[in-house]
Amino acid sequence: MRWASENLHEAYAERIRTDLDGQAMETPWFAKRPVKDIRPGDHSWLAYSGPEERDSVIGPFVREGLDTNEKVVYVTDAPAELLPGLGARHRVDVEALGRTGQLRIISRRDACLDRRGGFAPGKMLETIGREVDAAFGQGFRAARFTTDYSRLISAPGRSDLAEMLGCEDGVGNAVSPSTMAMAICQIDRRACPPDELAALRDTHEVLVEVNPEFDDGILKISRTFEPNGLRVEGELDAARHQVFAEQLAQVCLARRRVHLDFTDLGFIDLGGLNLLAQQATVLPADEALVLDHLPPDVENVIEMVGWHRLPGLERGRERAFTETEGIA
């Protein structure tokens, strides 16, 4: 029997073996962590599906740093007020934070481009080293570093993959042994072909993901973005119906098809199935709640009562292995 209470702890430091091309290559090992658990020494990877997912990870990463006397270094050409965690609704005084040195927004030209506008990996490493050293001197307890590689890799005359990989290795070497530095390397999933994306991912030890919406050690609920929906892990029972119903109603507000990822759902009670069917009744006609990656035990109960007794629920994707973890 698969008791998800045991699985839940793994979810924080889940180690996923990946064999993308099936070659006898050096097999990378990843830890998967929600952004709230990113800590010094983590050189982490975020391949996002769109701005909503990116902001849901980078926003908390930036804000938590600013809230806890840590330095935040953001390499970007975007204006501060458009950056995740720094927009107007967060009431962050970007200028004041800039004066104290707690928030450093560095243009790409200053951080990592050479005089002709080409990517200069060595310069990026120098920038990171300089900022981390300065953070120590300025009395910050840690330094958070993030940048988005999407444009570097997709722009015309882009740097080649080998150069990017070398740079990432360098960042990894700088961050991993550090007791102060942590980094999230962002990339738009669509910015480069899957094999290149996988190669870049493999230079990271940590896959960062969005913070769960709810987690009591028995049930964990997290947003998913592509597909749009929720990932439900652990055990869903009467004691947790209300919180689940709220999260489900919330995600159903956006007028997009909702998928529920049940890969690590160890148990759902009959009331939980009832709740899904109830939510499905308030969806627009012809819409359905899609149940992806049903574990055999959960599917067994659904088939026992018959799918037709759960109107508005639809069987989604089959269970699969996690080769595409962190890139799709």
């Binding site: 009467a238 004691a239 009331g271 199935l273 007794r309």
Partner: protein, 315 residues
Amino acid sequence: MSVEDGAPKRRPLEHRAFVYGGMDHFLAVTEPFLRSGLEAGEAVVAVARRANLSALHDLFGDGAGIEWVDAAGFYRHPVRTLRDYQALVNDFAPRPVCALAEPVWTGWDERQTLEWIRYESLINEVFKESGARALCPYDSETLPPRIVDEARRTHPMVVTDGPPLASDAYVAPAAFGANCDRHRRFTRPDDAEYFAVDDADLHALRSFVAERALLHGLAQRPAQNLVTAVNEVAANAVQHGLPPVGMWIWRDGPELLCEIGDNGLWRPAPDALTGFIPPRSALQRGFGLWTVRLLVDLVELRAGWDGTFVRLHIR
């Protein structure tokens, strides 16, 4: 077919026992029965024991438009069989179903036999408005006399040699079920383990039941089914019953038994049909208890002056 109220009126269920002796007799009645279904354009299904099934199949051959089903695979768990027959009726709707339905009476212990007799009675309730026709053969040469006697109590009409006759022994399903339940014993062995359910969080209860189920030697699937069933009954007791809520668990030969009890009175009290009638959807009342009946081998309810008790059997 009436069109006055906009919907076709369905005729009532025709549910007949056919008490036969020998293959010739069997074929002499069942063949015309199936043929009449084909001629009327009904969905014709033949569920019978293998020897009878192949004899009929030899008469009709392939391509007759009859669905042939081996009874051995179809009659395994009475509540699930009711569900499957209902699915069949719904799948063919609006065509009415014409079914030859020969249950399996070997390999069951006394308790299981009683549930199959009850099943025959429940057919009258579950399909009362389905428009279906069912002919249930009973082999008087090999079946114990009691089984054949009960068939006269669970079928409104009985066919032997001549035309069908109304059975004067017939008992309506609710009364029949109540009579089945009258002889139950609700004793519990002294060494039954007790697990108190103190709050709405049933995680610990589930872990406990799962552990005991595996210890008893249940396979993974029935063990998980038991966990889901216990969880449902306990959640119901926590929500609608009165404390103390708890579960006793014990072994009885090959069976593992769980009984969930609370101090509340179940009102209106459950009757002998409670939880047996398949609900149309999960949103309908009674979905939970019906599913619990599907998940385990046997469910017994007792709503007494001293509380509400739901006993689950599984092996």
